[in-house]
Symmetry: C2
């Protein structure tokens, strides 16, 4: 039987999810990098790979598989078809299913993209004494459309940021901590002025939850991992698989590997 207590070991976490446990991966195998998953037919994979090359802040590619392969260098022995707690299957840009195993839909034509996520840098911020308000408030991070477009690649384009309130005297620390982690979104893209990004009202995020600013907090904006998923779904590929929100792939890679000295 699987246990409900989060496993400390990445392989044990993946084994629990492979056995059918379908819970958010937050808190599992702490200290190990978790990754977003996007799986696409070869025909669309070029656009996604180029979109990542051109926009490394919102789309930090940690690994890209050979077509048909379910293996990744981020976790030797893992099976990308079974080892995430929950998936989403998309057909023509519409959500078609949310299974816990995608073995039966995985064909030779599919390429998997594993993309860095902000879990890693939120841990680094907390370690550096920077409060993370969305975690304190038990909410999802606030995400907004902006008027700053990514550089398009083929059928993919799109403009998204996440916002975290940071106490003014800790903004410099937050910048330094995240700048050292370019593979998980890196330094903020903007500090201080929602209007400069075309955001009318911080209290009304386009995705995620509203997060309250404490007295003296400044809004700090980072490139956001929802960007590639939103760009992709807007362009309606015939078929795609992604992780379900919050149900990420747990890698063997220690977070420290993605922190520059």
């Amino acid at each position: 039987m699987t246990t409900l207590a989060p496993a400390a070991d990445p392989a044990a976490a993946r084994a629990a999810f492979r056995a059918g446990l379908a819970v958010p991966s937050s808190g599992w195998a702490p200290g190990h990098t978790q990754a977003n998953l996007v799986v696409l037919p070869r025909d669309w994979a070029w656009d996604m790979l180029l979109f990542g090359q051109r926009n490394p802040q919102p789309v930090p590619l940690l690994d890209v598989t050979d077509a048909g392969s379910w293996e990744t260098v981020l976790a030797p022995g893992a099976d990308l078809r079974t080892d995430l707690p929950r998936y989403r299957v998309w057909r023509d840009g519409e959500l078609a299913d949310e299974p816990t195993d995608v073995t039966d839909t995985w064909t030779e034509d599919l390429v998997a993209f594993l993309i860095g996520c902000s879990f890693s840098f939120e841990t680094a911020l907390l370690d550096a004494g920077v409060p993370v308000r969305n975690i304190e408030q038990g909410r999802n991070v606030s995400m907004y459309r902006t008027d700053r477009e990514c550089r398009p690649a083929g059928r993919l384009s799109g403009p998204l940021v996440s916002m975290r309130p940071v106490p003014g005297h800790l903004v410099a620390t937050a910048v330094q901590v995240t700048a050292r982690m370019p593979q998980v979104h890196g330094a903020p893209v903007h500090v201080g002025s929602p209007a400069a990004l075309g955001i009318a009202d911080l209290a009304r995020p386009d995705f995620g939850d509203p997060v309250e600013l404490a007295d003296g907090d400044v809004p700090v904006f980072w490139a956001c991992g929802v960007t590639p998923q939103a760009a992709l779904m807007a362009s309606r590929p015939p078929f795609a698989i992604t992780h379900a929100p919050g149900h990420m792939f747990v890698t063997d890679v220690p977070d420290a590997v993605y922190r520059q000295p």
Copy 2:
């Protein structure tokens, strides 16, 4: 008429080369990043883009164009078909021509890759007081095959390093300076032991010239930009264009942009 004195301005350098001047680009537009060029049919472009994603040290991709386009964000207004001093045209992996203009062979099917080169980090080493022996000795850098394979991507694989002798007391400086420049090969992959890389004799490089070590010098090995070209030619694509050795693309991007603080 074009002048033979190297232009200080990148646009002026490109204009001279576009007008037909066919000289090595070293010393032109100093302080601006120069890039290697590889141009491939779409069918091969996936392999090259994936090879770069998987091997960012030897293949640091600075820009990848849309198929058919000769424009790059690295130098708005430049024309990749005319603005390099000299090209090489390859058919079935064999050198077919060395023209100064490739407009007539540039088709809608071609994707151009602009790849960071060690010119940028050699300047940074000199600025930091680290002697660059190949420059002192007026020779090309020494390059070697190694027994460490890159991670393959499709039809591309290969193992190459360049070696620069560094005085022992400056090895730490050389590591720190180049580690801050991941987009132009980054930190060394090895310091000190040729045998550990499967290199039998430093005096017999596989490419480039032998460079002599001064008393107290230690051999320092970096990932090498010849890797993607050698990998590509070994796999014999039906058609490819590259820069001619030493005849690079002069970008508008200041070297400082690729130096992390």
